[in-house]
């Protein structure tokens, strides 16, 4: 690039930055103004729960999530074992096909069984119900401490699975 070409490029970028600043200032002004006149305005500070209990996977080091589509694919291929982290009443009332019932507190007790499944080539997927339920992550995290590092979390698993119309199971009584 010639010196002139470089100079023109620098001028263009300077102009872009200057104009961007003006446009953004205008946008912010309009945004603030709209807030003060609209009836359905939301507060500037929302009460969003981004704490670990909200189930943000980043709050549990090493714990990763899995999408519904991927979980379904693995299930169809017969390569999955679901781990239901909910209470026993919910589990008995209905759970994902073949799911083992392991509340986070029982992770240590069931670790050996789960480890054998993972060694047999199954992908372990823990789940709970509701976008804010942390039990799926807690179970994955607890199993991780017991040496089972490959558990992935299907967020809001029960509702997502069921509402998509995928098959479920009830506990035989």
């Amino acid at each position: 690039m010639t010196t002139d070409g470089k100079g023109a490029l620098v001028d263009k970028l300077r102009k872009a930055i200057r104009q961007s600043a003006v446009l953004i200032a205008l946008a912010l002004l309009l945004g603030v103004a709209s807030q003060s006149i609209r009836a359905d305005a939301i507060p500037w500070l929302g009460k969003w729960d981004t704490s670990p209990s909200a189930g943000s996977s980043t709050a549990y080091p090493g714990v990763s999530t899995i999408s519904l589509q991927e979980a379904w694919k693995l299930y169809r291929a017969g390569k999955v074992c679901f781990l239901d982290a909910r209470d026993s009443w919910s589990y008995n009332d209905g759970h994902l096909p073949g799911a083992l019932h392991i509340p986070p507190a029982e992770a240590a007790k069931k670790a050996a069984e789960v480890k054998a499944l993972a060694a047999g080539g199954k992908t372990l997927i823990s789940y709970c119900d509701g976008a804010t339920c942390p039990l799926g992550e807690q179970l994955a995290s607890a199993l991780r401490k017991e040496g089972v590092v490959s558990v992935r979390v299907l967020k809001n698993g029960w509702t997502l699975w069921q509402e998509t119309g995928y098959p479920t199971e009830r506990q035989k009584r």
Binding site: K12, G31, A41, G46
Partner: protein, 155 residues
């Protein structure tokens, strides 16, 4: 098609897209805030403020591109926004989050996949073409220039 018309066509496309996307989000700030929350990338304190202000930035930049005023600034903003959106999409795709895009709708919709990232990068390429190659075809700024030139002739 003349080469100079390509940045002009890109201006119309991107300007229209950003104006539309901004309007949709301005109409439903609560829905857009939920979309941002689902990405799980911003701290809680910034979610609502972003949901309130970002659509206005999109609309202003979109309008600038459509009208041909402050085209360098408008295209630079659009390029930076698309780079930000692409990064957010890439991070959440790698994390395996099953979320709606929230790009042109604030309602729960189809889950994000890699095609969304490719689309955003394609749009970003268009923004950069505008930034570096737009010659001001059918721009309001040409009207301003012309009228000021006419005025200086009269003086």
């Amino acid at each position: 098609m003349k080469l100079a018309t390509i940045p002009f066509v890109f201006r119309l496309i991107l300007g229209g897209i950003f104006l539309y996307a901004g309007i949709i989000k301005v109409l439903d700030p609560a829905g857009f805030a939920l979309s941002i929350y689902n990405y799980r990338l911003l701290p809680a304190e910034l979610i609502n403020a972003t949901a309130i202000l970002l659509p206005w930035v999109e609309m202003t930049a979109g309008a600038a591109l459509l009208l041909g005023i402050a085209v360098e600034g408008g295209s630079a903003i659009v390029a930076v926004l698309l780079l930000t959106f692409s990064s957010a999409l890439a991070i959440d795709l790698l994390r395996g989050l099953d979320i709606a895009c929230g790009c042109f709708s604030t309602a729960e919709g189809a889950s994000i996949d890699w095609s969304y990232l490719i689309r955003d990068l394609g749009l970003m390429f268009m923004a950069l073409i505008i930034l570096f190659f737009d010659r001001g075809l059918y721009s309001m700024r040409l009207l301003f220039k012309k009228s000021s030139a006419e005025r200086s002739d009269e003086l």
